[in-house]
């Protein structure tokens, strides 16, 4: 049984009606936009990709079976669209170009966060996807494997290598800064 599959009772009760679609967008816009933003970096490109993910959801709304399936579907489609976009364009934002987040975090070191988000943009698309789903969405490794249709060892390898590269980039950056 997949992680998004739920009881038959829930599936029977669930229907993604066209009239309620705006509510669905509002409910999940933060998640979808954040996945795109964390993966591609550029806010405008992230918005475009997030919009496309919702458009695709609208086209396939009849196939959605439950709320958990909806979440699974949105994460998978958004991540895959971002991977495609990264492979097409490979945008590399320098640390100065990474915009500050609009939302201040209480316990966050802004410089560190900025450096990490900049470092993300230098990772291969697969590593970015795994790290985003792991740390933004807090998914388990098997859930990530299922969402990205990757073998579990590949997910573990992407995570380990991605984090190692981020750590190296941070160390390099801290050595450079006075």
């Amino acid at each position: 049984m997949s992680s998004w599959q739920t009881s038959a009772c829930e599936e029977r009760a669930f229907a993604l009606a066209e009239a309620d679609f705006a509510d669905v967008v509002r409910e999940h816009e933060r998640m979808v936009f954040s996945i795109a933003r964390n993966m591609v970096g550029d806010p405008a490109a992230a918005e475009e990709l997030a919009q496309e993910a919702f458009l695709e959801l609208f086209r396939h709304r009849d196939e959605i079976e439950s709320k958990s399936h909806l979440l699974f579907w949105l994460r998978r489609v958004t991540t895959n669209r971002c991977i495609d976009a990264i492979r097409r364009r490979r945008p590399m934002l320098a640390i100065d170009e990474v915009p500050e987040l609009s939302e201040p975090a209480r316990y966050r070191d802004p410089l560190m966060s900025r450096a990490l988000r900049s470092g993300m943009q230098e990772l291969p698309s697969g590593q970015r996807a795994v790290i985003t789903l792991r740390y933004q969405e807090e998914l388990g490794l098997s859930e990530i494997a299922e969402a990205l249709a990757l073998p579990l060892p590949t997910v573990k390898s992407h995570l380990r290598r991605g984090l190692a590269r981020l750590r190296t980039q941070l160390e390099t950056l801290s050595r450079r800064s006075p």
């Binding site: 816009e29 790290i131 933004q136």
Partner: protein, 109 residues
Amino acid sequence: MMQFDNEVKQALQRMDPPDGFADRVMARIASEGQRSEAPAGSMIPISGRWWRSLAAAALVTVLIGAGLYQMREQRAERREGLRARQEVLLALSIASEKTKVAREAVTEP
């Protein structure tokens, strides 16, 4: 290790999309819906299956036409052969008649 994990988690935490994001998504859905609704009588959507059926029908028509043409040619050829045979037989009978007349004229006392 834990501290680094927390730093990554905080750096990648969810964030709000730009204002009006949902409205822009709904506007795109609406405009896409208008584009996909074809006006009445403008174009009939033709599927791949339709094209395959049309190609098969055209092929059958061509094959039947070729068969009929070949049959007609063979029939005309046979008719021509019969006519030539009759002409040869007629010519032979005329020649035989003339030979007979000549022989009678020679043998008459």
